[in-house]
Amino acid sequence: MNRTTGILIAGVGGQGIILAGKLTAQAAIIAGMDVKTSEIHGMAQRGGSVTTHVRFGNKVFSPVIDEGTADFLLAFEKLEGLRNLKFLKPGGTVILNDHVIEPLPVLMGRETYPGDVEKRIAARFPLLVVNAVAEAEASGNVRAANVVLLGALARRLPFPLSVWEKALDAVVPARFLEV
């Protein structure tokens, strides 16, 4: 069978999800693999839920990750992590940003933000919680939170550091690279 790795990146519009997807895909290309990605634009950009699908392997057919098949879920926001759990295959890993963005129905007091996200995820999947905002702040740029999260994923993918460095060079404008 064709072995393909699937990474679902989920969060809220504006969190840098698209860049994280680009970096992951670029790393896979540099490592000599076939890559496909898929994302949804449009309405999602107005503060809605956003996902990027990244698949790589020797030969990738579908650009879309089926439910129950992703190897990794990289969640930039806790509720979105929970929402997209269904995409993970059994034994798949969740990398969760310890970050809450309350959606409008919650801000308006009409719905309640789930209080036990980590517990609910950890009951079913290996879970790594990252405080990406704090780590990015410590590195001097709060906007690099997406790269911090990606770092947690990078350690679990079969690409050496040099591949990621090349991917950063190729994808991120030089003026942002110092961080």
Partner: protein, 591 residues
């Protein structure tokens, strides 16, 4: 090899195929085609047209002049361009003309999910369906060559998962395109009845020749697999099928119209059981069935929404014969993950500082019937604003508001049309002329945020900038309304609630057409920095009046006002709404 979206690849394909003119109106998922041409290929003339009909007419003119032309639009845009399309199929072309129809199965960002493959069949023009970015690029050149060889416009149909997915693309050098020039040709280009009758017959002949081409083009290929099962597919469905049933025999149709009946028959003869996997309508299935070939398709596969590999697997495995073969290869139907308890939704919302928010807040307070339109402001129909009643198509609200007041004059004083600036240029102007000409009394509110926001901030004829950000003339909506005969014209700042309210009240009371231009630039365009006003939580009584604005920067934790300092840009609406002076007016309100 480069990782490109389908749209980036189409732009590259236009460059490699020597396209000289490219025109489009923005529409998801087609928008990035012209954006990429404008950004990366300065040798191609690129433009935003006011609508898709004009874009196609520009393309036809360019083709007649001898320049290869590409026009791009979302699926519903082809409805607007259908008039020139149907007759351009009669006249044919000079240089190649390709129309990109970007369909949106699943309606990620659309009001319907019509299957535009039927347009190719309706107009009898050749149809190409790329499955990935490489094909998206390559098919542009092939479509233009076919267009020239068979004297007919060609259609390339993508879907969201082709347009917005990325895959690796091998770039080629630009082709050397044969020189052509304009030659007058009355029988070919003037579709008066006598000529059109001849051209219709000529179209039939061209279609038959195109069918013969479709029978033998390598774009349509059989991939031998297990002969007990054969699957016909096109577009992204090809890769979905390969994902879940890599062992099956497949007939991949890259050129799916005119229907290559001979090739499908040959494939059907090789396999024991024939299936067709296609998103939305049974476009291929009906033609296969009409050719007398037994086939399974929509008896197993949903006719609505987007397909996925798992959904295709689930659907075909319902067929016992198919399932028996599939089990032999270890293929199993998908296991759907257990459903979690419902989570709070995260619907798209108007941004903090969005100028539409003030307008819709006033419309809600005035309890008006609001005939709406398509753009970011369609979000004004969602809670808590719930201030827009309808959304049909581009420009619809203007005509609908007029029709409503004609059917029931009682609605006159309480009905308005709301339409965005780009949408007004696209197809609202003719509706406004209808109101004036036919002695209507409707108030038309142009939500003028100085951009085409929803599709990602494209310029339009009202912004004073071209697609390449060169300064140009800008349509002045107030002047235009007056020129059309509207005597009551007002320009308001929608972030001034009292002023906006007064102007709308005044307009709906008057027994004459009125136009209100609610003008303030999109907050994403001005890149406003955070600018939260001071709050006095001790003055807040938790009345929730401010929450009625639906601003994601506002909340009442513990029943007292809190403003998210990272999101708030200080538009000042909440201070205007608050009756307890819990939010300071002076800190916000500025640009």
């Amino acid at each position: 090899m480069k990782l490109l979206t389908g749209n980036e690849a189409i732009a590259r394909g236009a460059y490699e195929a020597g396209v000289r003119v490219a025109s489009a109106y923005p529409g998801t998922p087609s928008t990035e085609i012209i954006e990429n041409i404008a950004r990366h290929y300065p040798g191609i003339y690129a433009e935003w047209a006011p609508n898709e009909k004009v874009a196609l007419e520009v393309g036809i003119g360019a083709s007649l002049a001898g320049g290869r032309a590409l026009v791009a639009m979302k699926h519903v845009g082809v409805n607007v361009a259908a008039d020139p399309l149907m007759t351009a199929a009669y006249t044919g072309v000079n240089a190649g003309l390709v129309i990109i129809s970007a369909d949106d199965p699943g309606m990620h960002s659309s009001q319907n999910e019509q299957d535009n493959r039927f347009y190719a069949r309706f107009a009898q023009v050749p149809l190409f369906e790329p499955a990935d970015s490489q094909e998206a690029k390559d098919f542009i050149r092939i479509a233009l060559e076919v267009s020239e060889a068979y004297d007919i416009p060609a259609m390339v149909r993508t879907t969201t998962r082709v347009a917005h997915s990325k895959s690796l693309v091998r770039e080629d050098d630009p082709a050397v395109v044969p020189e052509r020039s304009y030659e007058k040709n009355f029988p070919k280009y003037v579709m008066v009845p006598a000529n059109a009758r001849n051209r219709h017959r000529a179209l039939e002949e061209r279609r038959e020749k195109l069918r013969e081409f479709a029978e033998k083009t390598p774009l349509n290929r059989m991939e031998d697999g297990d002969r007990r099962v054969g699957i016909v597919c096109s577009g992204i469905c090809y890769y979905y099928v390969k994902e879940v049933f890599p062992w099956a025999s497949v007939l991949k149709l890259g050129m799916s119209y005119p229907f290559p009946a001979g090739l499908v028959k040959a494939f059907a003869a090789k396999v024991e059981n024939l299936f067709v996997v296609e998103e939305l309508e049974p476009f291929l299935e009906e033609q296969i069935a009409a050719a007398g070939i037994p086939v399974h398709g929509k008896d197993l596969i949903p006719r609505t929404g987007e397909l996925t590999p798992a959904l295709i697997s689930h659907s075909l495995m319902q067929d016992r014969t198919f399932a028996a073969v599939a089990h032999g290869y270890g293929s199993a139907p998908p296991v759907w993950p257990e459903e979690l308890a419902p989570l709070p939704l995260r619907p798209p919302v108007l941004c903090p500082g969005c100028p539409h928010r003030g307008l819709f807040y006033v419309l809600k307070k005035l309890r008006l019937n609001v005939m709406g339109d398509i753009g970011c402001y369609t979000l004004g129909s969602l809670p808590p604003l719930t201030a827009m009643d309808t959304c049909i198509c581009m420009g619809a609200g203007v005509g609908m508001a007029h029709g409503m007041t004609k059917a029931d004059p009682e609605t006159g004083g309480k009905t308005v049309a709301v339409i965005g600036d780009s949408t007004f240029v696209h197809s609202g102007i003719t509706g406004l002329i209808d109101i004036v000409y036919n002695k209507g009394i409707t108030t038309v509110i142009i939500a003028d945020n100085r951009t085409t926001a929803m599709t990602g901030h494209q310029e339009h004829p009202g912004t004073g900038m071209t697609v390449r950000r060169e300064p140009t003339k800008a349509v002045d909506f107030a002047k235009l309304a007056r020129a059309l005969g509207v005597t009551r014209v007002a320009v308001v700042d929608p972030c001034d609630l009292a002023g906006t309210r007064k102007a709308i009240q005044h307009a709906v009371k008057s027994p004459a057409p009125a136009v209100i231009v609610a003008r303030r630039p999109c907050v994403l365009l001005t890149r406003s920095a955070p600018n939260p006003p001071d709050t006095r939580p001790e003055a807040c009584k938790g009345c929730t009046l401010c929450l009625g604005l639906g601003c994601p920067a506002l909340s009442l934790p513990g029943g007292r006002i809190a403003i998210n300092p990272y999101l708030c840009v200080g538009c000042g609406l909440c201070a205007q709404v608050c009756r307890r002076a819990a939010i300071a007016k002076e800190a916000g309100g500025g640009e």
